[in-house]
Symmetry: D3
Subunit: 238 residues, 6 copies
């Protein structure tokens, strides 16, 4: 049995509150159950060195956890020599996923920073961050079009993300921290709005998994992503 009598193919309660930061071009506070991530989108009029004079824009994401987002406190990165490997990996995943639905050329030489700060972590922080990061980015693009270029739409589509796992032999959708810990296989899916796949990261935590298990998780992910998208559309106001 899952916590709160949740079915194997049900997500946790999802909520997306927008406009939570008065300065950011786009922002939301997204919750997947007790996982809470504050996402802001910042538009800057300059690009990283490798894009200067290219006419193209860029999307950069930074993922971070507050020290007490977790059960035991984690030291801040700045007190260490190197940032946590996990932090780097997830920041890169979020950025790559968001760029997959943006026409970077249409942005002009601008950069959007997507900051995803985990206020409380209970499993699925990276999928909540991608989902909320997309919402913050879409709102920022709306604002950008209203102010600068109403006819240009850099957004090519939408994305959402959800985790799945095999727990006690059963495929499950949107794992919380306890399930994630117990899972034999753990997979994160980033899905496009039309049901195709943007990224899969599937890892055998205890034993290797089979193609059939992969398929069962992918089926759950497709179902879950479709539901999560509805929350996103409502939040963005489409």
């Amino acid at each position: 049995m899952r916590a709160n009598n949740r079915k194997h193919d049900a997500t946790r309660t999802i909520s997306i509150i927008t406009g939570v930061n008065k300065y950011a071009e786009g922002s939301c506070l997204i919750s997947f159950g007790d996982t809470k991530v504050l996402c802001t989108a910042t538009i800057e009029n300059k690009v990283p060195p490798f894009l200067r004079n290219s006419g193209s824009g860029w999307i950069t994401a930074e993922y971070s956890m507050l020290p007490r987002a977790t059960q035991t406190r984690t030291d801040r990165d700045h007190t260490k020599i190197h940032p946590n490997g996990r932090t780097v990996e997830i920041s890169r995943l979020i950025g790559r996923s968001l760029r997959s639905v943006v026409n970077l050329k249409a942005m002009g030489e601008r950069q959007i920073f997507i900051d995803c700060d985990v206020l409380q972590a209970d499993g699925g922080t990276r999928t909540a961050a991608i989902t909320g990061g997309y919402v913050a980015m879409a709102i920022a693009f709306k604002k950008f079009r209203e102010m600068h270029s109403p006819k240009v739409e850099p957004l090519l589509g939408s994305i959402s993300a959800v985790s799945c796992g095999i727990v006690d032999g059963q495929p499950r959708l949107d794992l919380d921290f306890e399930e994630d810990f117990a899972a034999h296989t753990d997979a994160n899916f980033v899905m496009s709005g039309d049901g195709r796949i943007v990224e899969i990261q599937a890892t055998a935590e205890k034993n290797p998994f089979t193609k059939a298990e992969l398929d069962s998780m992918l089926d759950l992910a497709i179902k879950g992503a479709a539901e999560i998208q509805k929350h996103q559309q409502e939040a963005i106001g489409e």
Copy 2:
């Protein structure tokens, strides 16, 4: 005229919501107007190296701003070689202020981390952080007494903090960002519950100031701190 017709000796709207983090031993979200700081208190059963085998405890504070807490985005510290000098200075001030009302010996060899993360900044972030940090710490000590040592009370008193400034020749209480920018003199006061002074940091931003101006600001601070304390007591539940 001040924003929202505020009087020169009035604070902004103050709110303190406790229990905002399900893991921390104490937590609150404190607002001084549009300034919002998330404060958590974490009790750890080990102390910094210089206190090992001393029988004494310690309080450490860490202050940080989310990248888009401010009007324009600030890079995260971990992308720089050294943490921002301002961040270091404020973290040290918070820790020093909180330690002034704690009997460190009575804590035993334990350390409390006070994390103050600014979600949105509109002036007075350090005074909000000290005020909220005290609330989170007091709740953690309550929990600590309930669980471990009901007869020991490491808390010796209370503190709150508020800023003052001379704007257009007029002393004002609890400056917002615009007033802070315009102030000729800027002062932060940390006050004890019995109306004495724990710390003063007063800086001439444009011209040196006089003893009379210092006195006028101190008077406002005493009044403001007394009001802020009522919010703290209500939040802690005393």
Copy 3:
């Protein structure tokens, strides 16, 4: 057409030369075509802090490229503030994959470092590093059993890795650098010796991909991994 008239389901020429380092407990120089990775396994009699007094061992991998492994020279990591995100990500992948076939408890409190240094890079460096890292580790375990505990076998199975991609609409096995650059979708598969999946990292480089495309790549990976395993067995001498 692929370079050297290679078929879409053929790997490049694979070679594994063992014993290339006279100090390491296990070592090999692995080539996937022009990609060359020097892998060494070092057994140390201490474990990371989080495993002290646990009775359990650990496998850590470090992946690195020599500055001129690539077409244009890359600065060494030590000249930068932070290690390259890609380097961190791949090191973590190699370590996680190798740990999936090791009984860490059976190792005792020992750590094996797998160093994978890319001497020349032409696509597929991470899959070559996992494949060669496994060979170096297996040789080190052999040596370890001969010297310390002939009856204990910490190795639970074998792994190999290979990349696949969709290039010009066609699924292809073991991409070289040019194909990797041209691929619409890029996937790395870590496979167990019995044909199950240890890790999938599949990324849409240009457009999202479909379940059918994922399946076609997985089929190629299963075929490729089986071939690569034969090279591994021969190198280890089984």
Copy 4:
């Protein structure tokens, strides 16, 4: 009784020797008793990035202690990840204080670096550094006017600094290390040449302090600063 029968309102022996560095545009070795600080002023023809093309100049101060300036040796900053918080705080205080008496616009796009290296520390190093830093800066401005622009005077006034404290219930001027350690309250005052206040940092080391105690320290500081100014004027040659 104070060391050397010093009265409660007397400074220690103060000496300022100028011209101690043959390369610097201004320099002095300042002693407050056994506290010795070497101060140099360097004029550079470029400003920090945030002032480029602003027409305005800048003053930056860097405070540092030699490893054996103190009773026990302190590791050099470069052997640590982050510079000492105290060092950062004091450097910022010196720079802010010196800028308060400079017309930055009149400097043109030039930067003055004030380096304050503590050769020996016996309390009051920051106040000695501000006092000596002012002397080195004033000498550099003299040289600058002689060479470049005899009619422009960027210096708007003078500053000096001195510490006070409450020791055994008695207010005292210019604490040495032992008194500083014993003080219940510790305050540093930066005063302008006309007797106004540039900065106050007052900290309760043991118990909160009262307004009356603050006033008694401020009175001492005004008296002490006036004396110290005479030493400065003599050293600068006015």
Copy 5:
């Protein structure tokens, strides 16, 4: 007796294999006995900041050891705050030595990076690196002349390097690790092709040494360098 019945004035077996990297402008794998160093030369069309608009070029060398080049594994530099002092020292020595035979003005504003990565270390790694670094650089210059400026020859001469030591009172040429460890005095000689001295670093490891001992080592070095030069010429193809 030396290992392999080597005479006191004989080098170990020396081998230089060129063309070992398909991207580098020049490359070789050099062995002095069991010491193996991979050297690559990279020509870049920009110079360090201090040479911009000077019309002059630069040679930079970077020396590094793979973690398991040595008997026990050494942590990678990027896991430490600061690079190893020894690494910095040797990199500077290699660069300085190579620059001594190059007409930097004739290079134009170009920089050559010489990367010397020690794959296996058994004494004499810095002398092998200088010797192999020269070969890689000479090949890169050949390529450079063929492509850009057949009439310009930036190479002014040749260099090679060899170590000597006093072991058991006897001067010996080209020490291996065990001899290096046992030596009372240890010296590295960088010699020009015409038998003059480019650099001497002679260190008393146990007792000070005499002028006579220095002379006996210098005689060996002159003999050894002449032999090593023949291997270099053969490798470069002159």
Copy 6:
């Protein structure tokens, strides 16, 4: 002609003032002409990790320049990612040289830190630092014997250091900054009290040098070191 009509085999005016730091176990301010170095020796009752439980002591040296020791200001090391290579190299040289005359076993598990801070640099800073570092160390050992173990003498001998160079074809002793800049060959000699050699670092700055030139510099160094030793003995009080 040399500055001040100095002869080719004469040192500059040398002065060594001891007791310049009231906390250090040994200290001196040494001048070689306008080069001034403050040297302190600190005895600590713990050793670096690699010597724990070995019964043996250690000598560590740290060399550093104040920012304005030089004609143009140099940034402090802590503002850079990595310490200056030159700084590392010289610190290692000083430490190695001083250890050559110490019986580390006789020290017990203690470490002496020799801090050499260059207050003003005019050529020969490393040789002044070694010479003054020896004086500070010798005084510290005296104090150590008086307090702890009058019968143990860890000091095995004395060292001093001096630079030589070939300027305009002429060998010269103790180069100042201008001569150092003009020299074709530059050599630093660390000599033992009995006239033997502890370390030679000889570098061809423009052209390779000959054995005859090396000999002429060594002769000067022997003469110069003997003179410098007299200054050391006088300072130490022997």
